[in-house]
């Protein structure tokens, strides 16, 4: 399960596929001020990237790759910790 929800922190790990987009959107809708931890995410599917772009949560860590970086460039970084 690449999606772990722990209080105000949502952790995406490994390879997130298109199926993870909808649950992620649901969680983000339920917790508008959530922080999304991407430190252990290997690859985010386009659909997941889209959800992040829509919900604009604070991000911890950025996945590798030019495309995810370009997608998520506008999102705020979470404070360390």
């Amino acid at each position: 399960m690449p999606l772990e929800h722990d209080g105000a922190t949502i952790r995406l790990t490994g390879h997130c596929s298109v199926e993870d987009a909808e649950p992620l959107l649901d969680v983000l809708r339920a917790t508008p001020d959530a922080t999304v931890d991407l430190t252990e995410a290997a690859w985010l599917h386009t659909a997941v990237l889209q959800v992040l772009m829509v919900a604009t949560p604070a991000l911890r860590g950025r996945p590798d790759g030019l495309v995810p970086a370009a997608c998520l460039a506008g999102l705020p970084a979470a404070e360390a910790g």
Partner: protein
């Protein structure tokens, strides 16, 4: 056909092939993006649907064609005539396979071999044409305008990277996730990816309304990779991708407001000297130093950053251009700025006197003025003014020099919004009126909606006309019906006509047998009603079968093009009256003769360009195909402006091959002589060519046309061209005939062929050699005895005092046919002889009479 899906695929495939073929021809004449898109869509759809069936060779071939088209569309491959030939040939092959699919539901056995050969050819062009074309300046012209939006650092890195550069945008379609696509992954894995920009196609949806399974992104990426590698990588989404190879100079886009500081002039002088002396390190240092003291947002700062980044590697020309962009683009000299600025996406257009662009720029400026009119809070006003300034600056290169100067002066005083507004507005009134009034269609939609000076009334009709055109252009609601069904309906209508005729007999018999004239009359009244309905039915069914001749004509652009290329001649095809309608069967019977005639005209008629010029004609010949309706006939003419037919040559040849005697030849007019080309076995061209002139020439044409109940003749003027005229009945369904009697048998003769009927006293029939003739109004008419021609028994008893002669037209000659008597006229459906009777000479078909008897209908040309 058992496979319903395949049955549906076949007509669709044919339509797509047709569309792609005509698109290719259009494209060869004039490059048009729409035509290319149309072809591409057709081929792409064909590839997609063909994948449903087990016809891999077809899919592969179409795929290769599609790949080629992708390159063409991306501007990397010029559409050479050879490539068009190759694509057309491939489409033809696919057409043959479709035919095979229709009859046998499998591809021909040799399909795989034929396919691999073609695919190698097509792919060959792809490899040869790709890099060669990419190096050409034409290919790199269309740098997309979003390149400037990529981060400057990315562009500078790309500039330094060198090699082929491709800028491409990718808009995955909304439902791509359902197909398992991951667009981001595809983009990430693109070969040589240097930078990417991701943006929403429209606005980012709100979280509440966002559907996580629909894609709404657009990717704009820059790759340093050969075009082939990239199109291979993107082959499955090629319809959603726009590839444009760009030169590295296209990357240098300097955006931002002008800085008018004098320091740039000093820098320019120094920098030029540094470039000239190849002191690159110092140039870089100078640029960096200047960057430290000016604001980073200006255009000059951008140019300085480029200089700093490129100083060590770039060639001197590029650096000089950048330097010029810094000091030469000072606001006081806006025109020279436009001239010397490095080529950006928008700038190339500005160097020409591009009136439409200028008008559009004015419209945009007027919109800016409108925007400034709207009152806002002071906090927002500054930002708004800044954006107006930016827009105005971008418009500057496209404006008339005087106006640009005035605007520039106004822009130099940032505080004075009112003055700026006035200047912005200045050109707007005249220009936007000029844009909108003369040709509302030509105005771009955004221009209409943003131009404030356009009166509402002017906008509304243009909108309405667009809508009107939209609904008018919508495809007519069509019903695709198997022709067999219509033919069945036609047969029923015909049988109804025959059965109806039976009522007339019945009325006669009622009067005879029961002696009740009252009943007979009532039956006749009823007959009249049914007659009317039957006729309406027949007209209706026949209307279904009517098709415009364009159905036949549409294959000719291709034929003319191919033939011309083969012969090395030039000809323009002019088609007239393609809306003229005729029965489907008539048109089909016409198709082959027409091809023959067109080939003849091109092969024998139109001369080579050199010959034409020598004869004082334009190098390009004209072939005119026209159709029109005359009474119950369709007249089709094939006219060329070639060398015409020399009657002397025809006469000599005709005498030599024994068609006519020298005496006979001496009496014939030039017109009659040229029509000898229709005689069997006559071909004027000595050399047998691949195209026509196989010795079966025009007599085949005449036979085919006559079989369809028409006629053909030729008019020619030496040195000026020839015109072949084909006359065909509008419909072959119902034929008016007259019945004649010979030895007690009744035969039908088509009324069209009958000129008149006369009684000729025996004494007036003269025998000239073997042939009987008589004189009708000073013309000698040959006589044929029907009974003899049909091989009927000789007449018993004494010959009558006078003979009943039917004077008939066969071709353009008149001939008298001696019969025993004339009976009645009627409308019948002539059915062709088939089965064992098909080879029977002398009859064109059979018809059913009202009383149930079968009538043989004579084919007069056979009897002579």
């Amino acid at each position: 056909m058992t496979n319903a899906l395949l049955a549906q695929f076949i007509p669709e495939a044919r339509e797509l092939l047709e569309r792609a073929g005509s698109g290719l021809l259009a494209l060869e004449k004039a490059h048009s993006a729409e035509a290319l898109d149309e072809i591409f869509r057709a081929v792409h759809t064909l590839k997609g649907t063909s994948g449903l069936f087990d016809i891999a060779p077809l899919t592969n071939l179409v795929h290769a064609a599609e790949d080629l088209l992708v390159e063409v569309r991306a501007g990397q491959l010029a559409l050479e005539p050879e490539i068009v030939d190759g694509l057309l040939d491939s489409l033809d092959l696919v057409g043959h396979w479709i035919d095979a699919l229709e009859t046998r539901e499998v591809l021909p056995d040799d399909a795989a071999d034929a396919m691999s050969g073609r695919v190698v050819t097509l792919r060959g062009w792809l490899q040869v044409g790709g890099p060669a074309a990419a190096a050409s300046p034409v290919a790199s012209e269309a740098a997309p305008d979003w390149i400037g939006a990529l981060p400057e650092s990315v562009r500078q890195a790309a500039y330094a990277a060198g090699g082929p550069l491709i800028a491409w945008s990718y808009e995955p379609d909304e439902t791509c996730f359902f197909r398992g696509d991951d667009p981001a992954h595809l983009v990430e894995q693109a070969p040589g990816l240097l930078g990417v920009r991701v943006l929403p196609r429209e606005t980012v949806p709100a979280p509440e309304f966002c559907d996580p399974v629909l894609s709404w992104l657009r990717f704009e990426a820059l790759c340093a990779a050969p075009a082939e590698a990239l199109s291979e990588h993107l082959r499955y989404v090629s319809d959603q991708v726009q590839l444009s190879p760009i030169t590295k100079d296209a990357l240098v886009i300097l955006a931002g407001p002008e800085d008018t500081a004098e320091v740039f002039g000093d820098f320019g002088v120094r920098a030029r000297a540094l470039v000239a002396t190849e002191a690159r390190a110092e140039l870089k240092a100078a640029a960096a130093a200047l960057l430290g003291i000016i604001g980073p947002a200006t255009r000059q700062a951008a140019a300085l950053r480029w200089i700093a980044a490129l100083a060590p590697t770039a060639d001197a020309d590029a650096l000089q251009r950048l330097v010029a962009a810094i000091d030469g683009a000072a606001p006081a000299r806006p025109v020279s700025a436009a001239m010397t600025a490095p080529p950006t996406a928008a700038a190339p257009a500005s160097t020409g006197t591009d009136a439409p662009l200028r008008q559009r720029a004015e419209v945009i400026l007027a919109a800016q003025a409108e925007m400034l009119d709207v009152p806002v809070e002071a906090a927002l006003d500054a930002g708004r003014r800044e954006s107006v300034r930016t827009v105005a600056l971008r418009c500057l290169p496209h404006l008339a020099p005087a106006r640009a100067q005035a605007l520039n002066a106004a822009l130099a005083q940032p505080g004075d919004a009112a003055a700026l507004r006035a200047v912005l507005r200045e050109g707007g009134d005249t220009v936007s009126a000029a844009v909108v009034v003369p040709a509302p269609k030509a105005v771009q939609k955004p221009a209409v909606s943003t131009a404030p000076t356009v009166p509402l009334a002017a906008g509304a009709p243009s909108e309405a006309s667009e809508n009107g055109a939209g609904s008018g252009a919508a495809p007519a609601r069509m019903l695709r019906v198997d022709q067999a069904k219509v033919d069945t309906l036609m047969n029923f209508a015909a049988e109804l006509t025959v059965a109806k005729n039976g009522l007339a007999y019945l009325a006669g018999r009622v009067e005879q047998v029961s002696g009740s004239r009252q009943l007979g009359r009532e039956i006749k009244e009823q007959y009249a009603v049914i007659d009317r309905i039957a006729q309406s039915l027949q007209v209706g069914v026949m209307a279904i079968r009517m098709m415009p001749v364009s159905q036949v004509f549409q294959r000719f652009p291709r034929l003319v093009r191919d033939t011309m290329r083969k012969l090395g001649k030039e000809a323009e095809l002019v088609i007239q009256g393609e809306d003229t309608e005729a029965d489907k069967n008539v048109l089909e019977s016409l198709a082959d003769p027409l091809i023959h005639m067109v080939r003849n005209a091109l092969d024998h008629g139109i001369e080579t360009p050199a010959e034409r010029l020598a004869a004082g004609k334009p190098a390009q010949g004209t072939l005119r195909l026209s159709a029109r309706q005359e009474n119950d006939n369709v007249i089709i003419e094939v006219a060329d402006d070639g060398k015409g037919i020399d009657p002397d040559v025809v006469r000599d040849k005709a005498v030599r091959v024994g068609l006519i005697t020298p005496d006979h030849a001496a009496q014939m007019t030039a017109d009659e002589i040229v029509n000898l080309v229709f005689a069997p076995g006559f071909s004027t061209k000595e050399q047998v060519s691949d195209l026509s002139g196989r010795g079966v020439g025009m007599d085949v044409v005449r036979n085919a046309v006559r079989k369809a109940g028409g006629d053909v003749w030729l008019a020619s003027r030496l040195g000026q061209g020839s015109c072949v005229t084909v006359q065909l009945p509008l419909t072959m369904a119902v034929t008016r005939i007259v019945t004649v009697e010979a030895r007690g048998q009744q035969y039908g003769v088509a009324m069209d062929a009958v000129a008149e009927t006369v009684k000729v006293p025996l004494g007036q029939i003269h025998r000239i050699k073997q042939r009987e003739t008589f004189v009708l109004r000073d013309a000698v008419i040959p006589l044929v005895r029907l009974a003899d021609s049909l091989g009927l028994a000789p007449a018993t008893g004494a010959p009558p005092d006078e003979e009943a002669v039917m004077v008939a037209r066969v071709g353009r000659e008149r001939i008298g046919i001696v019969v025993d008597g004339f009976r009645e006229r009627m409308e019948v459906i002539v059915r062709p002889l088939d089965g064992l009777l098909a080879g029977l000479v002398g009859f064109s078909g059979t018809a059913l009479l009202g009383d149930g008897r079968v009538l043989l209908v004579l084919n007069l040309p056979d009897l002579i």
